[in-house]
């Protein structure tokens, strides 16, 4: 069994718990042993870099240093924001030895730069290549749009190996799961990110525009890899439906949930029962 380091990040034990459940279930199906970094801390997310440039590097630095000292050369960070902060820090440290030296002093831990951070799309592409594709035998027959949002499509030297303006990695995974993948206009538009509570109006506007595009393309569902995107499109969709700003409910699934369904796993084991917008009807035979 292959071992991979795991950084769930804070939201995966809270609002984004379905991402944690489905990633762990998918890893188990694919025969990958996820080893959680012991005693990991928060990456700082949007809050740290909004107010303190040192803290924004120091918090991810401690995580990278812990992973290295625990012998984890490759670490999966399924949350798009955690991935972007961890890998962004990794990239900056590699370019700037002086920053690495200052951070090692501040955090009081050494870091030699030996940790590779993977995002959920890279993780799933690797699983598919290593044999998961053959296990995706449940025919879902769904029309899906791939929604990357910001942090799985952009960030120089952070998101690599795909086109930032027209990424296609998720589409390949959706096709492997037997979906009909639709072309649409909002695959890397912003949903409003971390402003869900503090500037809710902008999140409602931006999320509505994304849902409108998905519906115009004829999608049965939107597939995402980011817990902030999921929360904004799923939980905040309740309000859009209530205010009749969208004509009906559109299910939002994580890519790991969709692949788990295609692998024959039960919706409840993947977390589908925890979404605000009901999605279990997408699997034939219903919930």
């Amino acid at each position: 069994m292959k071992t991979l380091g795991y950084y769930p990040g804070c939201s995966l034990s809270g609002g984004g718990i379905e991402l944690d459940l489905s990633v762990r279930a998918l890893a188990k199906t694919a025969g990958v042993d996820l080893r959680e970094i012991e005693d990991w801390n928060c990456c700082g997310a949007s809050a740290a870099h909004s107010l303190d440039h040192s803290l924004a590097v120091a918090l991810p630095f401690r995580v990278l240093a812990l992973a290295e000292s625990q012998g984890l050369a490759e670490v999966l960070a399924p949350c798009a924001a955690c991935f972007s902060r961890l890998k962004g820090t990794q990239v900056r440290l590699a370019r700037n030895p002086e920053l690495n030296r200052r951070m090692a002093e501040l955090v009081e831990r050494p870091y030699q730069g030996g940790v590779r951070i993977l995002n959920i799309n890279e993780f799933i592409a690797a699983l598919l290549k290593d044999g998961l594709a053959e296990k995706l035998t449940r025919k879902l027959g769904l029309k899906a749009v791939a929604y990357y949002g910001c942090l799985l499509s952009r960030g120089e030297d952070i998101v690599t190996g795909d086109d930032a303006e027209d990424p296609q990695g998720m589409e390949a995974a959706l096709r492997a799961a037997g979906c009909e993948v639709l072309s649409w206009n909002a695959s890397n538009e912003c949903c409003g990110g971390g402003f869900s509570m503090s500037k809710t109006g902008s999140v409602l506007d931006l999320s509505q525009a994304i849902l409108d595009e998905a519906r115009a393309a004829g999608a049965d569902l939107v597939v995402t890899g980011c817990p902030m995107c999921h929360s904004n499109l799923d939980m905040r969709q309740l309000e859009l439906v209530k205010r009749r700003r969208v004509p009906g409910a559109l299910p939002i699934l994580y890519l790991s949930e969709l692949l788990g369904l295609a692998a024959g796993l039960e919706p409840g084991a993947l977390g589908l029962d925890r979404h605000f917008i009901e999605s279990r009807q997408l699997v034939r035979g219903g919930a």
Binding site: S13, G15, S46, L51, L106, E189, G194, S198
Partner: protein, 188 residues
């Protein structure tokens, strides 16, 4: 004709040292603003932020550091992705926001956003990880935004999306020390 670089003012220096952006390289094409999902809510568009930061005189800084725009950046990275000079306006906004915060220049419309960031970081400083229930309680107290989303917490609990007790890591003392050192450290 003098072809040498213009003299760098203190804000340009802070932006270069902290964000790695040379402000003088911006030629005001406006691509950052064209792609910005938050520009419609801003009092200054991203390219205007860049222009005022380039100017860097007292009047420009007064408008810039008191602007709502700095607080409305969602960090989506579209501006950095599309800038033809490979500049990073979002990183410039980070530096300017940190300056504005340090100088206590918080526009009224941005107080909720600041309250959220602070509540988020307070939970991380306390236990090493962000914890949603303490975060929301602290945010509500600080922002006095008491009644919006009042039903979401119970709904999230019903969906088994929230742990009742926040997890505190063993290394929380270490994390607290990181926060303390950063507070004392150099500032842009």
């Amino acid at each position: 004709m003098n072809m040498s670089e213009p003299k760098e003012h203190p804000v340009a220096k802070a932006v270069r040292e902290t964000a790695g952006v040379v402000l003088a390289e911006c030629y005001q094409c406006g691509k950052c603003t064209a792609g910005c999902p938050m520009a419609r809510y801003m009092d200054l568009s991203p390219n205007q932020v860049m222009r005022l930061a380039q100017a860097g005189d007292a009047a420009a800084l007064e408008r810039l550091l008191g602007s709502e725009a700095l607080w409305y950046c969602a960090g989506c990275l579209t501006c950095a992705q599309r800038c033809p000079r490979q500049l990073d306006p979002a990183a410039v906004m980070d530096v300017l926001r940190e300056m504005a915060h340090r100088q206590g220049k918080i526009p009224a419309a941005a107080r909720k956003i600041l309250a959220f960031h602070k509540a988020f970081l307070a939970t991380v400083e306390w236990g090493g990880r962000m914890a949603e229930i303490p975060l929301v309680m602290r945010y509500k107290m600080n922002s006095l935004d008491l009644f919006s989303d009042a039903l979401l917490g119970p709904a999230m609990l019903a969906k088994r999306k929230l742990p009742l007790l926040p997890h505190r890591i063993r290394g929380r003392g270490e994390v607290r020390r990181i926060f303390e050192k950063c507070r004392k450290g150099t500032r842009p």
